[in-house]
């Protein structure tokens, strides 16, 4: 934990005063959230209300609006204190239960064996007070339980208790083995501009800032039609040089801002192993810590784009059964050198099967056709409509699609080492999945009319983790079946057709 314990963080007392529900002897006591919770909860509303109150004071003196703001503030505080006082959580022998009884009564309980992950995060406010938010993940559709603000030590304790249920018998909980698996290096922050998402952050920030300003100005009556029009005239009247300069500045700021955004999200990114879980911690302002139960990690995903490929950088994610929001929470490494990512993958899951076997030649034609067909179709429509400029543009796009199609073919590949299966596809966003054989819950062989003509098939391995499976695109039909057959012979063998006598090479092995 890097967060400072600025404020005293006493254990939440298991208070008397409310009747505790009948419970088995070995259960932990009923607990409340941290007493400072309402401070964090109310802080956001308070800033908004104080802002509104101050504005009211400025604009209209001690008006009714100001008193309303004060009353709102008082109600907000009372509501937060009430929520805190009526919310309890309880770790039973067999289930984890929360109870909220402010107005209605809500009791949520999750069987402890269904708990798949415990995710600890904290915003800046939480960290100043030594608090943390605990998300308890219970399966894909079981929903999750959020404990908004408990002491950081309590959060750690809860995580250990909730994730430990399988090992209670074997190992005492006090044994704390923490083994670091990977740690971010400062140099990696420079990889941020390579990924599109971080490059676009400045636009998103500027957009939301402008939107907020506009709304605020609009609420205060500062924005009138005249002002907007004169602003538009001023902007249109700017000399070209200034406009170009502003755009250059913005473009120049993009990589810098992307590095800053990347740093904010991934500061001190650490992956370590503890008590049978893989824990990934990251973030500068909002610190996130995600614990993934090791036996639920059924595979990994390596993804990159062409720029990252040139730089030898790749992102690593875990495929975890029953993890909601897997794209963010399954993250094991942000943009990192390939060798580091592969090393971490092999420590988390096991060695990545290599080398990849390329797919048949027929697949190349299919990738080319699929890349060029949409722009060519658009070109035909435009030509039919008699638009010369758009036709040329579409034809140019079709031309550009040729190298893309070729690269998409080059990236296709699969491999299998008897324990894990790996498939790779895509170009602008290339993804390589590595999946344990045991994790496969079914096979889907998909063939379009064109694939049937070309003797190709796409083999989907269904996995109850990540996006539901991975696809080996455009393998030859018999290779696809042979691969499925070597992995799960019992499922395939009863349904194989007798080999055609004239085509001996179709037989595997």
């Amino acid at each position: 934990m890097t967060a400072p314990h600025d404020a005293p963080a006493p254990r939440p007392p298991a208070e008397a005063g409310e009747a505790p529900p009948p419970r088995p002897a070995r259960d932990a006591p009923v607990r409340r959230l941290h007493p400072l919770t309402f401070v964090v909860g109310a802080a956001r509303e308070m800033t908004a209300l104080v802002g509104a109150g101050a504005t009211g004071l400025l604009v209209g003196g001690l008006s009714t609006a100001f008193y309303f703001a004060l009353i709102g503030l008082a109600f907000g505080l009372a509501w937060h204190v009430g929520t805190w006082a009526t919310f309890t959580y309880h770790v039973h022998e067999d289930r984890f239960q929360t109870r909220r009884s402010l107005v209605g009564r809500t009791v949520k309980s999750v069987p402890r064996e269904r708990i798949r992950g415990v995710d600890i995060s904290s915003t800046l406010g939480h960290r100043l007070l030594g608090l943390a938010i605990v998300h308890v993940d219970a399966g894909a559709d079981g929903g999750e339980i959020v404990l908004n603000a408990v002491a950081q030590r309590e959060a750690e304790r809860l995580r250990k208790v909730l994730l430990a249920r399988a090992r209670v018998a074997e190992a005492p909980l006090q044994v704390k083995r923490r083994r670091e698996l990977a740690h971010i290096r400062p140099r990696w922050f420079l990889y941020a501009p390579l990924s599109g998402a971080y490059l676009l952050t400045p636009f998103a920030l500027a957009g939301s800032l402008l939107g907020t300003l506009y709304n605020l100005g609009d609420d205060l009556g500062l924005i009138t039609r005249d002002r907007v029009e004169s602003l538009g005239r001023d902007a249109a009247g700017l000399p070209t040089g200034v406009v170009v300069l502003i755009m250059m500045l913005f473009l120049g700021a993009m990589p810098v801002a992307s590095v800053i955004a990347f740093t904010l999200f991934n500061w001190d990114f650490t992956v370590y192993e503890r008590d049978g879980s893989i824990v990934a911690e990251r973030g500068l302002v909002t610190r996130r810590s995600v614990a993934l139960e090791r036996r639920r990690v059924r595979g990994v995903e390596l993804s990159d784009n062409p720029f990252e490929r040139v730089a030898g950088v790749v992102r690593l994610g875990a495929l975890v059964t029953g993890l909601g929001d897997a794209a963010h929470r399954g993250r094991l490494l942000p943009a990192a050198p390939r060798s580091v990512a592969v090393a971490l993958a092999s420590r988390v899951l096991g060695p990545v099967p290599a080398p990849l076997i390329p797919h048949p030649r027929a697949a190349r034609g299919r990738r080319l056709v699929r890349a060029t067909a949409p722009p060519l179709g658009a070109a035909v429509v435009c030509a039919f409509a008699g638009h010369l400029a758009t036709t040329t543009a579409a034809l140019f796009a079709a031309l550009m699609a040729v190298p893309l199609g070729l690269d998409r073919y080059r990236q296709l590949g699969h491999a299998d080492d008897g324990v894990r299966l790996t498939v790779r596809s895509g170009s602008l966003r290339r993804r390589q999945y590595v999946v344990e054989h045991d994790a496969i819950v079914g096979w889907r062989v998909r063939r379009t009319l064109f694939q049937r003509r070309a003797g190709l098939a796409t083999l989907h391995a269904a996995v109850g983790a990540g996006e539901g499976g991975c696809a080996a695109v455009d393998m030859s039909e018999s290779d696809a079946l042979a691969m499925a057959w070597t992995i799960t012979p019992d499922w395939i063998a009863p349904f194989l057709a007798p080999p055609r006598p004239d085509k001996t090479r179709e037989h595997p092995s």
Binding site: A385, W443, V445, T448, A462, L496, P499, E506
Partner: protein
């Protein structure tokens, strides 16, 4: 190495079911296309490029031809493709027409099974069987089964899956 086709066909009434479904869909599409064409007509309009108004008369024709082809060809084609088989421990299905899916789901990985009937299927005495696993990709659906068969299968599969399954992931 090839897969043989699954042993059982679906009910022939499924052809009628699919045909009526396609007819409703394409009928609606044709109506909309005809309406758009009649509204835009051959007169130039503000905000609509001239080449659109000049050629919009073709829209209902194209939609009509595609629709007629779908209604007449696709149901028979689907009927010839759709097959299913439940062996000792695997559910094997083949579905689709233009794009075909061969799906192999072991009974031990099934999470739940249920049958469904839309209003059209109730009229025709058909039902669809849905077999869910932990993965969407690995979840199969057989439509056009006779009701009795679908219910018997669902019951049988649910029972066997319950006996075999641990966590099914």
């Amino acid at each position: 190495m090839r897969l043989r086709e699954p042993a059982n066909r679906v009910s022939p009434r499924a052809i009628a079911h699919w045909a009526i479904e396609y007819l409703l869909f394409w009928g609606l599409g044709f109506g909309l296309a005809w309406g758009v064409a009649a509204w835009l007509g051959h007169r130039p309009r503000d905000g609509v490029p001239r080449w659109v108004t000049a050629h919009v008369g073709w829209l209902p024709v194209v939609v009509g031809i595609v629709g007629v082809l779908s209604v007449t060809v696709a149901p028979v084609w689907r009927y010839r493709v759709h097959r299913w088989e439940v062996s000792a421990d695997v559910v094997y299905t083949r579905t689709g027409w233009f794009t075909r899916d061969w799906l192999l789901v072991p009974v031990s990985r099934i999470q739940n099974v249920h049958t469904e009937q839309g209003w059209l299927e109730r009229l025709l005495g058909l039902a669809r069987l849905r077999v869910h696993t932990a993965s969407h990709t690995g979840s199969s659906e057989v439509s056009g089964l006779p009701v009795a068969v679908a219910n018997r299968l669902a019951e049988d599969l649910a029972h066997r899956a319950h006996d075999l399954s641990d966590d099914a992931t």
